[in-house]
């Protein structure tokens, strides 16, 4: 069975290893350089107290975009590995060949699933390890790891997403018995579930904190929070739409002055956020959700295949 798995999937393994290696080299080289740039700049700006005006990494847009694109890796694993590992055999009819050798369908499936889950975990873990390490500098600089895309590509969730996509592909392949519909279902299903969880479930994993402060006096939420919403309130009532600077405050000389002027008029800013201390709880909760889905989908695949005719 191990020879069979190697022969069937050696190319996929080689491609994945190659891509991860290339990515690893790129991220290691640039990551070391960025960390160095940042630490140098920080020691300089601390000495001169100019850290508020730091403007680093402007030319690295393409690199940052590339790293952001790794959010697609899980669905690629689902489509190229998950949907094909069983689905392609059913599509081509080669299951009739391999299931009439002397290996049972059960042990064949078990081996295939094990390979899929282990290699998906490896890809997810290596990818996440690389990206999380590389993002260390940007996390210190921008404090953005709790927000949106940055949350999705670091920490524990990339592993869980990859496993989920793989299991989704596996189940789709078994149920459709055709590669193309399986691929389409996997991609669509993955995006839908991720969107739903990210937008409707994630904000509710833990309680939010609400804090009120003056407009323009700096962030009301601590650095590294996940800011859910900011509303402007005037004497207790929420103000909709854009705020125009009232005439009476137009003459304020500094930002701080304008801020105080608005506060005197009764304006304040209410921020709803998840504090950075909640970051890992969120990571692990979302990972647990997707691991649970992985288990369910894997079970669905196993049961469905058992009940099908070959």
């Amino acid at each position: 069975m191990s020879w069979l798995l190697w022969r069937q999937h050696r190319l996929q393994g080689a491609v994945a290893a190659g891509v991860l290696a290339a990515l690893g080299i790129l991220l290691w080289v640039t990551g070391v350089s960025m960390a160095h740039t940042y630490s140098t700049a920080m020691s300089v700006c601390r000495a001169n107290n100019t850290c508020g005006e730091l403007n680093l990494f402007q030319g690295d847009g393409a690199l940052v975009a590339l790293v952001n694109f790794t959010v697609l890796v899980p669905v690629l694993v689902g489509v190229f590995w998950g949907a094909t590992i069983v689905g392609r055999e059913l599509d081509a009819g080669t299951n009739q060949l391999v299931w009439t050798q002397s290996v049972t369908r059960r042990s064949w499936l078990r081996s295939k699933i094990l390979l899929l889950l282990v290699s998906s975990t490896a890809v997810g873990a290596i990818l996440s390890g690389l990206v999380t390490w590389w993002s260390g500098t940007l996390n210190s600089y921008h404090h953005e790891r709790f927000e949106g895309l940055k949350f999705d590509i670091q920490g524990a969730v990339p592993v869980a997403y990859t496993l989920f996509a793989a299991a989704l592909g596996l189940a789709a392949g078994v149920l459709w018995r055709r590669t193309l519909p399986a691929i389409a279902t996997t991609a669509a299903g993955f995006f839908v579930v991720r969107l739903v969880v990210e937008n409707f479930a994630r904000p509710h994993f833990l309680h939010t904190i609400t804090s009120t402060g003056a407009i323009g006096a700096g962030p009301n939420a601590p650095l590294g929070s996940w800011l859910l919403s900011t509303t402007v309130v005037l004497n207790g009532d929420v103000v909709q739409g854009a705020i125009k600077l009232p005439v009476s405050c137009a003459g304020a000389a500094t930002r701080a002055g304008a801020s105080k002027c608005l506060a005197d008029l009764g304006y304040s800013e209410v921020s709803t956020y998840h504090p950075p201390s909640q970051y890992w709880t969120f990571q692990l909760t979302e990972a647990a959700i997707f691991l649970g889905l992985t288990a369910i989908l894997t079970l669905v695949a196993v049961v469905a295949l058992k009940r099908q005719d070959a």
């Binding site: 069975m1 191990s2 020879w3 069979l4 022969r7 069937q8 081509a92 009819g93 080669t94 299951n95 009739q96 060949l97 391999v98 299931w99 009439t100 050798q101 002397s102 290996v103 049972t104 369908r105 059960r106 005719d309 070959a310």
Partner: protein, 297 residues
């Protein structure tokens, strides 16, 4: 001696439709059995159930004393070759042999290699680029080299040119000569039946029409001709398969259940092809579909 394959009332239903119904026959070991039937009579369904690839809805099957299922003991006794001749098209013949060796405990690697070499099949070429006949031979070599006791072949030669067909059947008969292999071979080509098969099973959609050794079939089926007359006596004493009438003459295809007493019947032997066609025609008529036209002159 227990039969190698025992099938009793075997049937398979998909939704509301029965793909195979009430198949019943016993096949002695060492026989090469031809499985014949119209399209849709359930030949593929039957073979897949015997191979353990699908589960029966009704009835039972025993192959080499075991119920077909997902067990190593069973799988190593039975070889199966599907109609589409599934192979990994990007693999070479060499790859396929390695797969056979890896997945089968009783793998005869030397036999497989000798067989392919003697057929001139290249080992290092992707099987997707081989001819249909060569692919069928590779698939047959895989099925034979796991040294099964029973080999199930689903229309293996239907898509092959005559030469490739002859080569395939040669390989098969040689393998049967070597070992005690029992073979069930579904086919449309009745001429192959006569050479290769010594047992015959004819299926139609509703039941098994015939299941006997070829020698018995040849001995009991006759064509009776006479001047046009009443055939009710014949119908009472024997199994009438087919009747053709002209104003002057009547021809009756029968399976004799005893001697023909009436001297007015001229008795002639039938070739296997004609016997099989008579059964298939009978099956079609029983299903109420259009029949071969009665010949009027």
């Amino acid at each position: 001696m227990t039969a190698a394959v025992q099938v009793a009332g075997l049937g398979k239903r998909y939704g509301k439709k029965w793909a195979l119904q009430d198949a019943t026959f016993d096949l002695p070991a060492g026989r090469v059995c031809g499985l014949v039937g119209a399209n849709g009579a359930g030949k593929t369904t039957l073979l897949r159930m015997l191979a353990g690839l699908s589960k029966p809805t009704a009835g039972s099957a025993i192959v080499e004393g075991r119920v077909p299922g997902d067990e190593v003991d069973f799988l190593s006794e039975v070889g199966y070759l599907a109609q589409e001749v599934p192979l990994y098209v990007r693999w070479t013949a060499e790859d396929h042999l390695r797969m056979g060796a890896a997945l089968n405990p009783g793998w005869d690697d030397k036999g497989a290699r000798d067989r392919l070499e003697s057929l001139g099949i290249p080992f290092d070429q992707r099987v997707g680029t081989l001819s249909g006949g060569q692919r069928a031979q590779v698939a047959l070599a895989i099925a034979l080299s796991k040294k099964p006791s029973v080999l199930l072949l689903d229309e293996p030669v239907a898509a092959l040119d005559p030469l490739a067909r002859r080569d395939f059947l040669s390989t098969l008969t040689e393998a049967v000569a070597d070992t005690d292999l029992t073979v069930i071979l579904s086919t449309h080509l009745v001429s192959d039946l006569e050479r290769v098969c010594d047992h015959l099973v004819v299926l139609d959609a509703a039941h098994t029409m015939l299941a006997e050794g070829v020698d018995e079939v040849m001995a009991t089926h006759r064509l009776l001709t006479a001047a046009r007359r009443d055939i009710r006596d014949l119908e009472r004493d024997h199994t009438v398969l087919r009747v053709e009438q002209t104003p002057r003459q009547v021809s009756v295809w029968v399976k004799l259940e005893g001697p023909v007493h009436d001297p007015l019947w001229q008795v002639s032997e039938l070739g296997l092809e004609d016997i099989v066609l008579a059964y298939l025609d009978r099956g079609r008529r029983a299903a109420g579909r259009a029949t071969l036209q009665e010949v009027t002159a």
